[in-house]
């Protein structure tokens, strides 16, 4: 991890609302080159919205997002497409393309985003599948034929297929059993370390967060309420963090529960 110099990702004053619902209310967070940062928070606190704003999939009302020190908020489509070539994304539901075989899902960015020949892209895709523990035969299957854990591994292979500089992981272990979740965590660590990539993960799985994070930030009501080294999260002294990591119903975070 490189901590000095220009941050790889720098987010300042980010605000995003949906109608009257303000989801992000002035987010300030930096991520150093090669760092693995995990953003934790309850469901509906805006973790996915934050990542989508950084990726340019959602347009925030205010704030700035800089990658390698260059502002990205006003990029036009061509500039945005060039920027996105630096990124790999593992989506929460895997988001594999149903109509394509597994190998073509993994090779998609190489073929369509970078204009690589199909045969060359196929070989890279099969190598990436092997790196996440899936054989060549899996490459010919359709996503509908895969288990949840296999889909996550294919999605991970797709996210790293083009050797990205930054990888975003959206709830990488949600819906998996604890053993498969640990397998995915190990694969994330392996892929990120081999590539030397910067990793931004969002999760509410504390086992996963502790394992893959260099630094953890907690999001609550559209704001970062705490951030610090992963090793210090148990002594953060922050009541929001303490309630969240211990999974207590009582505390400053009040879940909205309405009687029927």
């Amino acid at each position: 991890m490189t901590t000095g110099g220009t941050p790889k990702i720098s987010v300042h004053g980010l605000r995003k609302s949906f109608g009257r619902n303000r989801v992000l209310d002035g987010i300030d967070i930096d991520c150093a080159r090669g760092e693995s940062i995990v953003i934790i928070g309850g469901s509906g606190t805006g973790k996915s919205v934050l990542v989508k704003c950084v990726l340019g999939l959602l347009r925030p009302e205010a704030g700035s997002v800089a990658i390698d020190g260059a502002e990205t908020m006003r990029l036009r489509r061509a500039g945005r497409e060039r920027l996105l070539q630096k990124f790999g994304v593992l989506f929460q539901g895997s988001a594999l393309f149903d109509s394509l075989p597994v190998w073509e899902n993994v090779a998609f960015g190489l073929i369509h985003g970078r204009g690589m020949e199909r045969q060359a892209a196929r070989e890279i895709a099969l190598a990436k599948l092997a790196a996440v523990g899936l054989g060549r035969d899996v490459g010919e299957l359709r996503p509908a034929e895969l288990s949840g854990g296999m889909k996550k591994r294919v999605a991970l292979a797709r996210a790293v297929a083009a050797d990205p500089e930054v990888i975003f992981f959206d709830e990488p272990t949600t819906g998996l059993d604890p053993i498969m979740a640990d397998v995915i965590n190990d694969l994330i660590l392996k892929c990120v370390r081999e590539l030397g990539a910067t990793a931004v993960s969002i999760t509410h799985d504390m086992v996963s967060a502790r394992k893959i994070a260099d630094r953890i930030a907690m999001l609550h009501k559209g704001r970062i309420v705490w951030q610090g080294p992963a090793a210090e999260i148990d002594r953060s002294g922050n009541p929001f963090v303490d309630q969240f990591i211990n999974g207590r119903a009582e505390g400053p975070i009040q879940m909205e529960v309405r009687a029927a």
């Binding site: 497409e81 994304v89 989506f91 393309f97 109509s99 970078r114």
Partner: protein
């Protein structure tokens, strides 16, 4: 009274906004046709989906349409001894009007719904966001091939539907009412002009574009999981059907009424 006027005004403004969004969506998708990359494989796949796999349903509806048209026109014309006009009425009705409209409505039900469901599912499962993050413009990869396929393939389908529809009329005329086969075919050709067929094909191209556009538009902006995809599918078929009938009248009135 003021409340009523406000409601009407709000509905009208909402309609204009929706029409504007649709036009911008179509313009943005069409604009991607003028710069690389081009997805020829996706276009071919869509043309097979829209054209080849719609042949059975379009062929069946065309033959029954031609047959019932011959039956009804014979019933009408026999009342003033003009049975000889049956072949002409069948061929003009099928090529100018019924071929394109019936084929387009069938394709709207089969293909427009499938497009809305497929793209809608891709939207709610983040597959469209995934395309974007893989440096691929979803409008270029998903929407443009479908628009091209609708525009190019429906005229070909309608050409086939025209032939099958006329054949349906021939079957009823010859085997039900005892027309001489040669005379029936001669009457079919006698008053048929190239413009009759071409006008139907021009309509078909417009209808094919409408079907694909409404399927893609409603799928692309669907929200809220399975229910949202279901609503998008319904909206795609209903709006395409209404627009087909509206533009059928508009095109006939503007260009081909003689």
């Amino acid at each position: 009274m003021i409340t009523l006027l406000a409601s009407i005004g709000a509905a009208f403004l909402g309609f204009l906004a929706a029409a504007g969004r649709l036009v911008i969506f179509a313009g943005m998708a069409l604009a991607t046709a003028f710069s690389p990359p081009f997805y020829q494989r996706a276009v071919l796949r869509q043309m097979v989906d829209v054209g080849y796999f719609s042949l059975p349903v379009v062929g069946l509806t065309a033959i029954f349409t031609g047959m019932v048209l011959a039956l009804q026109s014979y019933t009408g014309f026999s009342r003033f001894s003009a049975e000889g006009a049956v072949a002409t009425v069948v061929v003009l009705s099928v090529t100018r009007e019924l071929g394109p409209v019936i084929a387009a409505l069938m394709v709207a039900g089969r293909v427009g719904a499938a497009m809305a469901a497929e793209i809608g599912t891709m939207r709610v499962t983040d597959q469209i966001d995934a395309l974007t993050t893989l440096s691929t413009n979803p409008l270029r990869y998903l929407v443009l091939p479908r628009l091209i396929a609708g525009l190019v393939t429906l005229p070909l389908l309608v050409l086939v539907a025209d032939i099958i529809g006329v054949f349906g009329g021939y079957l009823v005329g010859v085997y039900r009412f005892g027309f001489n086969p040669s005379a029936y075919l001669a009457r079919t050709q006698q008053y048929l002009e190239t413009s009759d067929v071409v006008s139907g094909l021009v309509k078909a191209a417009a209808f094919g574009f409408i079907v694909a556009l409404m399927g893609c538009y409603h799928g692309y902006y669907s929200r809220g999981g399975a229910q949202g995809v279901g609503q998008a599918t319904t909206a795609a078929v209903v709006s395409a059907s209404i627009l087909i009938l509206f533009f059928d009248y508009a095109i006939t009135q503007a260009l081909f009424a003689r």
